[in-house]
């Protein structure tokens, strides 16, 4: 026996033969399925719904948290970078305005200013004064760039035009990445001059480095052409073209999601730094960002699976337990039904007993007289002469004894059959047997019984005891309804290959229309005062269902009643 079969409850393969028209109510497997589906459904729907909502909400929250964090990082960094550049530009502005050209160009003064700048702001590499013609007339710094001519360079034209200039990072003459910041001064009386300072690009990088917190965060600066101004971890070295597209201009901080050709998802935040050619970029790998979400998701799914499993176990266990209980209750009901059927049978036998006693009494009276006559003859006459007469008396005695034996056998055979056993029966024979029980009563009351059974009904397999009880119940009812001198008719005919129809028709008092629907209900009786239990027809109904047949009734008050039985000729067939 497999494990599943051992788990299988008793009701799984149970079929209730006695359930009649309410058969679907006793299909326990169906009840079980329904109970499991409904309870599991009611439990699963809210759990799954909540899980789905939680899934969505958590995912959205983590995503927007990431966007917000990136945006904050970009904004903060932009502000500090912006401030870093502005602060130095303003310092240069202040210097060039505060110090007249003569003072700045006086020997040693520019060195002193550079030293002061390096000590107070930091990041300055060198400092130079360029005159209106573009020639660097004073220079302080490590590269000896005095007298270099900048007149043809783009930045000089721009600073002359705009008043200040911040360059991209470039290598220039010194072969080291740096930025130029230049500011113009236009005295009221005289030609303009420019203060030009350079900053190591390294300085930017140092500023950004502490901000590159977290795994997979890449923080760098590019110019508007996409050339890296500070080294990037993953998208190129300094002064190389970055391997990402340049984000389009926006005046505020932007965050967007993008997918690289290799399928990697990135979250990119950027901001254009005002009055400079720089774009600050923060690039984060989506996978790294979503790692906490993946963990939460795994927990959520695990929780959901555990919930579903435990709900399922409880639902299965509870459904199985309850349906088993119903099944047990139903079996008790079926057992009680059988007991009631048996009691009905015993009651029938009790009713018949009086008639049977009378029937036996008649042959006994004959035997009594015959034996008495033999005694008389033996006492009074010559034995030889009366020999033939004596023989005639004994024959008559034997015939009367046989009559008694038949009656007794019939009663016993009816009383004995309580178990359901299928045997080959003949319809006519069964009806004759039943009429035999009530024959004397019919005779005294002048009730005529008419048997009209079609000869083409073959012997068939059925339960003799049940059939006899069915007909006895119907005949008893008919006798109660019939007046003396009435007619009781049995009509039997084959209506299809497998079905016979038997009608039990009386011309008695009939059943009122308001009662006719209830005649098969248990405990419905109009003869309670005469000792009716109201169970006869309901038991008859159950018995017919058990042998696979069906019963219907038609009646007209004052005209009579017709009970029509349909019986299968094969016990495996059920009549619809």
């Amino acid at each position: 026996m497999s494990f599943l079969q051992r788990l299988k409850p008793d009701f799984w393969d149970y079929h209730d033969v006695a359930s009649g028209p309410y058969k679907h109510l006793f299909n326990f497997r169906r009840i079980w399925y329904l109970s499991v589906l409904l309870t599991a459904g009611v439990a699963f729907v809210p759990v799954c719904f909540l899980a789905a909502i939680d899934y969505q909400v958590t995912q959205k929250a983590i995503e927007s948290e990431n966007v917000l964090r990136t945006s904050r990082l970009v904004s903060n960094t932009r502000r500090s970078l912006s401030f870093l550049l502005l602060e130095r530009r303003y310092a240069l502005h202040f210097l060039v305005k505060d110090n007249p050209l003569q003072s700045l160009t006086s020997p040693g003064r520019l060195d002193e200013v550079l030293k002061n700048l390096q000590e107070s702001f930091g990041g300055f590499t060198d400092l130079g004064i360029v005159n209106a013609l573009g020639r660097q007339i004073r220079y302080s710094g490590p590269y000896g760039l005095t007298n270099v001519d900048y007149s043809r360079q783009k930045w000089f034209a721009e600073v002359a035009d705009q008043g200040s200039y911040t360059s991209d990072v470039f290598l220039g003459y010194r072969q080291s990445p740096h930025i130029v910041i230049a500011v113009k001064h236009q005295p009221l009386n005289g030609p303009m001059h420019v203060l030009r300072a350079t900053l190591e690009a390294e300085r930017f990088h140092r500023e950004l480095m502490p901000l590159e917190q977290g795994v997979g965060v890449d923080l760098f600066i590019v110019n508007s052409a996409g050339v890296l101004q500070t080294p990037s971890r993953r998208y190129g070295r300094i002064l190389e073209k970055m391997s990402l597209p340049v984000p389009k201009y926006a005046s505020t901080t932007q965050v967007f999601e993008t997918q690289r050709p290799d399928g990697e998802k990135l979250l990119i935040g950027y901001a254009y730094i005002a009055e400079t050619p720089f774009i600050l970029m923060v690039v984060k790998k989506k996978d790294d960002l979503m790692r906490p979400w993946y963990k939460a998701r795994r927990q959520l799914i695990t929780y959901l699976l555990i919930s579903i499993t435990s709900i399922l176990i409880v639902v299965l266990a509870v459904s199985t337990y309850l349906v088993s209980k119903i099944h047990t209750a139903d079996q008790t009901r079926v057992a009680a039904l059988h007991q009631v059927e048996y009691a009905n049978k015993m009651a029938s036998i009790g009713r018949l007993a009086a008639g049977v006693a009378h029937e036996i009494n008649n042959p006994l009276a004959i035997i009594n007289e015959k034996a008495g006559l033999i005694k008389d003859l033996l006492q009074q006459q010559d034995i030889i002469a009366t020999r033939s007469k004596l023989l005639a008396q004994t024959d008559s005695i034997l015939a009367s004894v046989k009559r008694c034996a038949t009656i007794i056998r019939r009663l016993l055979s009816f009383a004995r059959k309580t178990d359901s056993t299928f045997e080959t029966v003949e319809l006519k024979n069964i009806i004759e047997n039943v009429i035999g029980f009530l024959g004397k009563e019919a005779e005294y009351r002048g009730i005529a019984t008419i048997l009209d059974i079609a000869p083409d009904i073959p012997p068939f397999k059925s339960d003799r005891g049940k059939l006899e009880q069915i007909f006895l119940n119907l005949v008893n009812n008919a006798f109660a309804a019939l007046k003396d001198g009435g007619y009781l008719t049995f009509e039997g005919r084959k209506i299809s290959e497998n079905i016979v129809e038997v009608a039990v028709i009386d011309d008695g008092c009939g059943i009122p229309p308001e009662d006719i629907k209830r005649v098969f209900e248990p405990f419905f009786s109009t003869r309670t005062k005469q000792g009716g239990t109201g169970l006869g027809l309901s038991i008859t109904y159950g018995l017919i269902q058990e042998i696979g047949g069906n019963i219907g009734v038609e009646s007209r008050p004052g005209k009579g009643t017709r009970f029509t039985l349909t019986l299968p000729l094969n016990p495996d067939i059920k009549v619809k």
Binding site: N361, L364, A365, G372
Partner: protein, 120 residues
């Protein structure tokens, strides 16, 4: 002593035939019929001292038959027989029978003969 004439009425022919013969052996002349109609027909044409009736007869009870016979032959006496030994039958029977006698089947032939002689 005059001959006593008795009419036996019962639906069991074998029973009445034998009873008639046994009564004959005891000096009582007995005629028999097996139904009420024949009984009424017989009493119209022949005089009987006593009628022995079964209580349960087809289509008519013995008591009904008694009343019908009494209207035809008012001086006739009656004895009833019954196979139903119930108390109700007995009480009903004795009440209806009045001065008639009431016997249970199977009847003892000597007591039947005695009763017949006693009545007459």
């Amino acid at each position: 002593m005059k001959t006593i004439r008795v009419l036996l009425v019962d639906d069991e022919e074998e029973l009445v035939v034998t009873l008639a013969e046994r009564l004959g052996l005891r000096g009582i002349e007995a005629d028999w019929v097996t139904n009420c109609e024949a009984a009424l027909e017989t009493v119209k044409h022949k005089h009987f001292h006593v009628a022995v009736l079964d209580i349960k007869l087809p289509r008519m009870s013995g008591l009904t038959l008694k009343r019908k016979i009494e209207s035809l032959a008012p001086d006739m006496k009656f004895i009833f027989m019954t196979g139903h030994g119930s108390k109700e039958d007995f009480e009903e029977g004795t009440a209806e029978a009045g001065d008639s006698y009431y016997l249970l089947k199977p009847v003892d032939i000597e007591s039947l003969a005695d009763k017949i002689r006693e009545i007459v």
